[in-house]
Amino acid sequence: MATGGYVGKILRVDLTARETSVIETEKYTEWGGGHGIGSALFWDLCKDKTVSGRDPGNILTFMTSPLSGTMAPSASGRVEVQGIGTAGYPVNWFTRSNFGGRFGGQLKYAGWDGIALEGKADVPVWLDIINGKVEFRDAADLWGKDTQETQKLIWELKENEEHGWTEIGKTRDSGRTTQKPAIITIGPAGENQSSLGCLVHDAGNAAGQGGFGAVFGSKNLKAISVVGTGSIPVADPAGLLNARIWAKEEYAAAPGQRVEPNGPTFGVDPAPVFLYAKNPDGPMGPQACQGCINGCRARFDTGIANESSCQETSMYKAFDTLAHGEGTDASYIATDLVQKMGVNSYELMQGIGYLYALSKMGVLGKGLEIDTDLDMSRVGEADFAIDLITKISNREDIGEDLADGFVRAAEKWGRLEQDYAIGILDFPYWGYANHGYDPRAETEWGYSSIMGDRDMNEHGFNANFWSVIKHMMAGLEMPVSAEEYAKITTAKMVPYDDDPNMVDYSTENIYSESFAKLVVWQRHYTRFWKQSALYCDFRYPDFTNYNREDNVGITGDGEPKFWNAITGQDITFLDGIELGRRIWTLDNAIWILQGRHRDMVQFASYIYDIPLENSLVGPYYPMAGKVDGQYAYINVLGRSIDRDGFEEWKTHFYNLEGWDPASGWPTRETLESLNLAFVADALTEAEKLGGE
């Protein structure tokens, strides 16, 4: 039943049988939306959770939230994708990614809260969703096309694509729209089942991490297109409008104006986030995901690398600069190409660095031990990027070795231990590329990633690093002292808000129970509010907000205000975090069934053995930390993670979760307290229940 933000149905797609069926969303609303519902669906539908990502038995879910397609600020446009991945080492964990844009809104306007895919089509197909009508269509003409060509071809297939009202049914009352169908598709990398393959939507939205492109490819699914004309019910429409205006007036940047710099938070201005060595110098206009309070991207007069921002714009920066002494068009070309070919730019960036190091060591190159046709003397040039991305996408030459990622390639080459030992293979957690916020310095990023399944990619605490860096670079004074930052931030971290030491990044504190509370809070907060309610990572949490006199951000007040206006529920911020705890625990149970044990939870060896000397921006890595009992912005470079210290920290973490610290497995008591007795039963059967 459609009510309070939910449109009532989840589309279940059996690609093998080419059949669809309907799951009532109501059955899963106790999980909130997004990730919570996705995990619960996976638990129910994936009978053997130990299958590989490319197995037809793998279940891939696309979930929206009650907020999707509504005007909840920066929470309308994201879609959570889950299933067993094809990336990662040593296990392809059950994992997640999400992407922005407008797919989630269109899916809900079409009447669907989500999609669960299973099986494998006999030949390539694409899924055409027009409101309640779902069709399997032949993808022979799309197979081999890049993500941009694919979307354009699908749009061309639709009637009356000139900018007019498009009637999408046979009668005038069957609905009309001006909007192009929203499409999520793979490029050649996904078709060829490379674990570097992404799912791409419009020009610059991608679910990159986890290797879901290869899952699409393995299922012979090229794309899903959706367009809808239906309505999303809202419990309190006037309340939602008032809340949006409140957020804009109280917390957001003044419309179209520059504001005090900050990291990715609610109050930043709508300027695109570029990390190119040389930013595009042609005219551009702003571009945002559906419902964003302030977008982070642009479209250009050239159309090249439209909608690309942040990491994908830094992907080729170092190599371009190395070759030319400055940024050139090679960076834009490389960025544009990863979007078109559907290749994971995180993995590629660190991977090129690895290949470059191997070539400098005389190991990799034409006729060398690792033999490749790649011309390594061209690293940094556009032609090298094109050649490498093409080889990866087509699984040719070195692309075949890299089809399961760089870490597995290193293992195949017999180099894994030695290249980890010297730190040239910068993939610190579960075989995922270092995001750039290194575990040795920004410890919460590393801890959250290794306690989970992938590079976590959550900027809540990282925002303060960027805030300090931007102020340093501009020669400006920070609007808040480290003491004020810590006070504002920890006050929002319910239920641990009585512990002011949680954001102390000093070496003395990073193995403490306080620091474990930070990571536990982050796991629970993000699992519900960011990955289930689908508030965007680039705007939430909003701890410090410099548009306000008190510098206190919207987090804590904002998240439940929009949720309640739309759903008609009356939940608190803490209620959401506690639901996050439940979802996080369910995820862990799935990993345990896949083989997770405390002993496996280890960083790559260089994280323990080689101190970190540089951040992304040089010899500074400012974070809040205590010096002689007082908070200051301290430089957290120059250290590595202590093995024993990390083990102590893990024990704190498992104890806070109520899991057995010996194994890292949840106890029955904890599971039952979370209303997860069915999980306890499954773990008992697998002989993997934590001891009391």
Partner: protein, 253 residues
């Protein structure tokens, strides 16, 4: 609302005033005097006579948009359907943003909003008076009780994306009423009140004015970009052709 509205042009203009304005005058010159002109009844007959030219009030306000400042988030569209209908539905929005993610700026976005035309073809085309001019505010809007669903108004609109639309859920025509009739908005709407799309737009790409804008084929497409916008790296010249670096340098930030 119906009793105060203008459903027939004959109701509002005394016959003795009708013959004083030529066709050329109403097309080209009426903006400044705050009165719009329409040919009463003659469109149905298919020919024009000077003595059938009739004045109707200009709208009390107009929406201006700057598609070069629009970030394409569609929040205005969601606000529109939410305040008028209590639901989120882009298809029910009376303002429409059409985008091509692969196109080159500034041709990647188009905004269509009702112009509250001085010469509202939608009003002329309506056979029942459902599409009418609100007596108090001059806003061109729909009395849904009178709408018979012929969609003549939708077809009559000369915008390339009709400002009048068909509400296929509630089965009646609809168009931008400057939030005059917004059952799901606490604040008063209409000219002098709040327009939901203006209130929520994150970048300030929509603005409200009581002055009749200059009408071109592009509609009320104006430049709402200032020095603050240039400081963000975006062009502020009318055409959107000046590089952000040059624009930022020129801004003095």
């Amino acid at each position: 609302m119906v009793d105060k509205d203008i459903n027939s042009i004959e109701e509002i203009v005394p016959a003795e005033e009708k013959s004083t304005i030529s066709r050329r005058q109403f097309i080209t010159g009426m903006g400044g005097i705050g009165v719009g002109i329409v040919l009463g009844g003659t469109l149905f007959k298919g020919f024009l006579l000077p003595d059938e030219v009739i004045a109707i009030p200009a709208s009390g306000g107009y929406l201006l948009v700057d598609s070069k400042k629009c970030q394409g988030c569609n929040t205005c569209m969601m606000a529109c359907s939410l305040t008028h209908h209590g639901v989120e539905n882009l298809s029910l929005s009376r303002i429409q943003i059409v985008q091509d993610p692969f196109a080159c700026f500034p041709d990647d976005k188009m905004i269509t909003q009702c112009r509250q035309c001085a010469d509202p073809k939608c009003v002329s085309a309506c056979p029942t008076g459902a599409m009418h001019v609100d007596k108090e505010t001059g806003v061109r809007t729909v009395d849904t009780a009178k709408c018979i669903g012929c969609q003549e108004c939708v077809n009559a609109c000369e915008l390339n994306l009709s400002g009048a639309g068909w509400n296929f859920e509630e089965k009646h025509a609809q168009k931008c009423d400057l939030c005059l009739d917004t059952p799901f908005m606490d604040a008063d709407g209409g000219p002098g009140g709040q327009q939901a799309c203006v209130a929520v737009c994150p970048t300030g790409a929509i603005s409200f004015t009581t002055e009749i804008p200059v009408q071109t084929d592009a509609g009320y497409e104006v430049n709402l970009r200032d020095e603050g916008w240039a400081a963000l790296g975006y062009p502020i010249d009318d055409e959107g052709k000046v590089s952000p670096a040059a624009a930022a340098a020129a801004s003095g930030y």
